[in-house]
Symmetry: C2
Subunit: 205 residues, 2 copies
DNA sequence: GAAAAATACGAGCATTTGCTCGTGTTTGTC
DNA sequence: GACAAACACGAGCAAATGCTCGTATTTTTC
């Protein structure tokens, strides 16, 4: 089997250029209609060079998904502290939403991978991994906030919350910047409304 | 300009066979990866025949979307009566959800058109029209239930509710039949949680 | 500085796919 | 039954697209 070549600095840069370009093209036309030749061209590189680093189009998307997952993790680790779980629910939800929205605004390609429904089979793997990462975080926070909550209920709630988030994310990032806060508020209301029956902290009345 | 031929009975049947086949193929592989040749083959017809009735692939999707819109409208008109607005919120929401879910289960292609993110430009028209139809219905009911609600808030709430619905619909239809009720309940909880602050009828405590 | 490994090029292949067109058959009209 | 309109066929075109491969250049290793 062909083993991975030892990348040199130039190669590392190329790979970043290529994933950058892929993000832009995915964001513009969606994964399905994105062409590898267009990605190579945008990266200022020949098709052959692209395939020196990525065996196929899917690998490019996987690399992107990995990058996003890492960025998300970083954003969360920066934004999450366990003290959150004692905040009033709306504020806690807000703290969870913000970094996700920010990552999304900073990476236009994210949505194309995170919430597009029309991806080839292999790609469901990275996509699910991304969603799974988010769901996992939510479940963690939920567990910390409501220790008595049965695991099954907790995981279901986390999954639903993530899907609600994904659904409204599209609107939030595509709406003019001036209206953004309004929609974020709405997302917050939706999540709080859904979660409060089981996650609202007793010290609230 | 080429005028529409006067369809005869045989032609009408073919058109239905073709939209039926399109629904199946769209449902199986999504719109983007669906091939017109595959649709023709499934309909038991040659590619040339397909193009006798539909100028292109998009037209096929538009015809499908129109059919779904009609079916949805019928389902709603059967399920909606104004007495609903005096029911407790969870029951009202349930009455709105059921027919939509049923239409979805009966028409596997629906989701591909209703909540796929990766469609060509022209198709956003029928897709948006479909979503708009649903949003309009929700807004109507909301208006009837909470007459004092400002129109802007009402429309926003309707839009958000529709998006939440669309997001969870995918899970609901793709999950094994045994788990379906559980997820419908969850969707109900999400919608009720979101809507109750502004739509809950005062006669509730 | 020479051999090896990594990087780069870009014309073009193999395949797919939406769609056409020449031709033949069925249905409706008078 | 004759003439036209609608229906049907299916081989195959033109364009797009993921990807290859022979060749050439740069970087690393010794």
């Amino acid at each position: 089997m062909p083993e991975e070549p030892r990348r040199q600095a130039r190669g590392q840069r190329r790979m970043e250029q290529l994933t950058d370009a892929a993000a832009v093209v995915f964001a513009e036309v969606g994964y399905a209609k994105a062409t590898t030749n267009a990605i190579a061209k945008l990266a200022g590189v020949s098709p052959g060079t692209l395939y020196q680093f990525f065996p196929n189009k899917e690998a490019l998307a996987e690399a992107l998904a990995d990058r996003y997952r890492a960025e998300l993790k970083a954003a969360h680790e920066k934004a999450f502290d366990l003290s959150m779980v004692e905040l009033p629910l709306p504020e806690m939800v807000d703290r969870m939403i913000r970094p996700m929205v920010d990552v999304n605004l900073a990476n236009p390609g994210f949505k194309a991978l995170f919430s597009s429904g029309d991806l080839p089979d292999r790609l469901t793997a990275p996509t699910r991994a991304l969603q799974q990462a988010v769901t996992g975080r939510v479940a963690e926070v939920l567990a910390a906030r409501v220790p008595g909550l049965p695991a099954e209920q907790r995981d279901t709630a986390a999954a639903v919350a993530t899907q609600i988030f994904a659904a409204l994310l599209g609107t939030i990032v595509s709406v003019p910047a001036a209206d953004r806060e309004r929609w974020i508020t709405e997302l917050n209301r939706a999540l709080v409304g859904y979660l409060s029956p089981l996650a609202d902290v007793p010290t609230n009345g």
